[in-house]
């Protein structure tokens, strides 16, 4: 049960990463590898501030802002200096590795005694459950602390999802979506597509950094290596989410990314439980995303062939 709750909690926290990837990958068709640096950046900024006793909400907010700056850098490299999108992301990601080390001062910052958002969540849960140590959920004894942290991460993911949905229905959000869809039309409507890309990548990486900040507070440390493979992880969540919801509607895509992240984390937890070597995790994730990217095309091709045979 602890395993399940842990998987769900991390699933919800990483769903913020998935929402960031949804913006860059699905809305802009931009494979923004900055995410691997900005998730660590979010964790590094939040952890470093928290060890200095900063208010957890403020520390998390500053982490988000740092992530937005990183995303804006990638956007500016791409739009103002006309550097290939993937390369822009690689440059910023590489630079962030050093920056993250500077922020943390070493490669790993533990949060043993610091007050974090998770400490607050445990406190709130303590009040809610009347101070009980364990709660009975459908016959299982569950730690009240873990349950409150799960509840908090769910609320955080749901809240961000709803805010994002509302944002996409505003003038600015609509312009952003149109930019990914048809930049020429967007310019003809008086919108600078370059500015929209910079802004969109800033929002995307802000979400990724938020995910990193929460992850650091949940697992109790920030590590300079924690971003490796995270973009592919986010992609896997987005792709599973699309398979789950089917339609390409905005509210469904957002819900899908949330569900995809949780489901993917659950699958991983189960596979690890069954004895999968943790070292193979990233290999399997990469193969999974590869298959998810090519299978729809293969199915369509097979369909065409059938039609061809029938016509002949």
């Amino acid at each position: 049960m602890t395993l399940l709750i842990g998987a769900l909690t991390i699933g919800f926290i990483l769903s913020l990463l998935a929402l960031g990837v949804l913006i860059s990958f699905r809305i802009y068709s931009f494979s923004d590898i900055t995410a691997e640096g900005s998730i660590t950046l979010g964790a590094a900024v939040a952890a470093t501030l928290l060890t200095k006793g900063t208010n957890p909400l403020l520390a998390t907010g500053i982490a988000v802002f740092a992530g937005m700056l990183a995303g804006a850098c990638t956007g500016i490299l791409h739009t103002r200096f006309k550097i290939n999108g993937l390369l822009s992301g690689i440059l910023v990601m590489t630079a962030l590795y050093s920056i993250n080390l500077h922020i943390m001062g070493r490669s790993n910052v533990p949060l043993l005694s610091a007050t974090t958002l998770m400490t607050w969540a445990e406190g709130a849960g303590n009040g809610l459950f009347g101070g009980a140590e364990n709660i009975n959920v459908a016959g299982w004894e569950v730690s009240a602390r873990e349950l409150s942290v799960l509840g908090f991460s769910f609320l955080a993911a749901a809240l961000v999802g709803i805010i994002l949905y509302i944002f996409f229905r505003t003038d600015l959000g609509t312009a952003m979506r149109a930019t990914g869809d048809n930049p020429q039309m967007v310019r003809a409507m008086g919108i600078s597509d370059g500015n929209m890309i910079v802004f969109g990548l800033a929002v995307s990486n802000g979400l990724v950094a938020l995910s990193g900040a929460l992850l650091a507070q949940y697992q109790g440390f920030s590590d300079v290596q924690m971003g490796i493979g995270m973009l592919v992880w986010g992609l896997a969540s987005v792709i599973i989410g699309e398979a789950l919801v089917g339609l390409k509607q905005l509210n469904l895509l957002i819900t899908g990314a949330l569900m995809g992240s949780v489901l993917f984390r659950l699958l991983v937890a189960i596979a690890l439980r069954w004895g999968m070597d943790p070292n193979d995790l990233k290999l399997i994730t990469a193969v999974f995303v590869f298959l998810a990217l090519i299978v729809p095309g293969l199915i369509a091709k097979a369909g065409w062939k059938k039609v061809g045979v029938r016509n002949a």
């Binding site: 149109a178 048809n182 020429q184 039309m185 967007v186 310019r187 409507m189 008086g190 919108i191």
Partner: protein, 270 residues
């Protein structure tokens, strides 16, 4: 309204692929005039429209529009003054956004985008009425993605979008060339209606000689990056398709003569 002075543009300058697309264009459009642009392939018609729209900056010369010197304005800034319909029906709309969302984008053409709700009730009502005026039944499909519509329907919506906020200048770049004849007729009628109703200053490129003689109050013919003919007023009204074809034939013969003359010179002197 629109004034081009000595506009020149060369693509791939200094390479074997050098193309001198615009070679000293001087053109002045009066307010409310509807100007047709025709010309041979590669004559610079579309380049002329793109230069005005700001797709690229010109090498020389100046462009003034509605009292502003727009020569160095980026494309999206010029969109405050300009409405555009493209040759490709897919260029003017965002396919994954709904019909209503596309129109809402155009209702704020050239204004800054804020966190205001995009599709409020009153705007939705206006969108409904505007789309209904097309008579295509699209007003009942406002929430469908625009990508599910036909080229003709999308082009009709693009025309609505480019003229929702009355532009100082409307640019139509062979906007019926990619449509089937029936849709093309519909779009031409719609364009003519909108232009007449709002008295829009318009620059329209076309390949169709029929459109060229039947529409507009002025016609310019381009060849090799220059304006070679300019018909206005009574002269424009008297123009027939045959007159235009004869002109094209003359131009073609002129070209042939140039080439044979060059060849002869080469043979004699090289």
């Amino acid at each position: 309204m629109l004034e081009l002075t000595g506009v020149r543009k060369t693509f791939n300058a200094g390479t074997p692929n050098e193309v001198r697309s615009l070679q000293g264009i001087d053109l002045k459009l009066d307010e409310g005039s509807f100007v047709i642009v025709i010309g041979t392939n590669g004559s610079g018609k579309s380049t002329l429209l793109n230069a005005v729209a700001g797709t690229f900056f010109v090498d020389e010369g100046s462009i003034r529009l509605a009292g502003h010197d727009t020569t160095r304005w980026p494309e999206h800034k010029r969109a405050q003054l300009i409405g555009r319909v493209f040759q490709n029906p897919f260029s003017g709309t965002a396919p994954e956004l709904s019909i209503a969302e596309n129109l809402v984008l155009s209702a704020r053409r050239g204004q800054s985008r804020t966190l205001g709700w995009a599709l409020n009730a009153s705007l939705r009502e206006q969108v409904f009425e505007t789309v209904k005026s097309l008579g295509m039944g699209l007003e009942n499909r406002l929430d469908n993605a625009i990508g599910s519509l036909s080229g003709g329907q999308r082009q009709a919506l693009t025309l609505l979008m480019s003229t929702w906020l009355k532009p100082k200048l409307l640019l139509l770049d062979e906007h019926t060339a990619a449509l089937d004849p029936k849709s093309a007729d519909q779009i031409i009628q719609l364009s003519d209606q909108v232009i007449a109703r709002d008295k829009l200053t318009t620059l329209m490129v076309t390949h169709s000689m029929h459109q060229a003689v039947n529409l507009g109050d002025r016609l310019i013919m381009m060849h090799r990056g220059q304006i070679i003919c300019d018909f206005r007023g009574a002269e424009k009204r008297r123009l027939r398709v045959d007159d235009l074809l004869n002109r094209f034939e003359e131009v073609r013969r002129g070209d042939l003569l140039d080439e044979t003359a060059a060849e002869m010179l080469q043979r004699t002197y090289v």
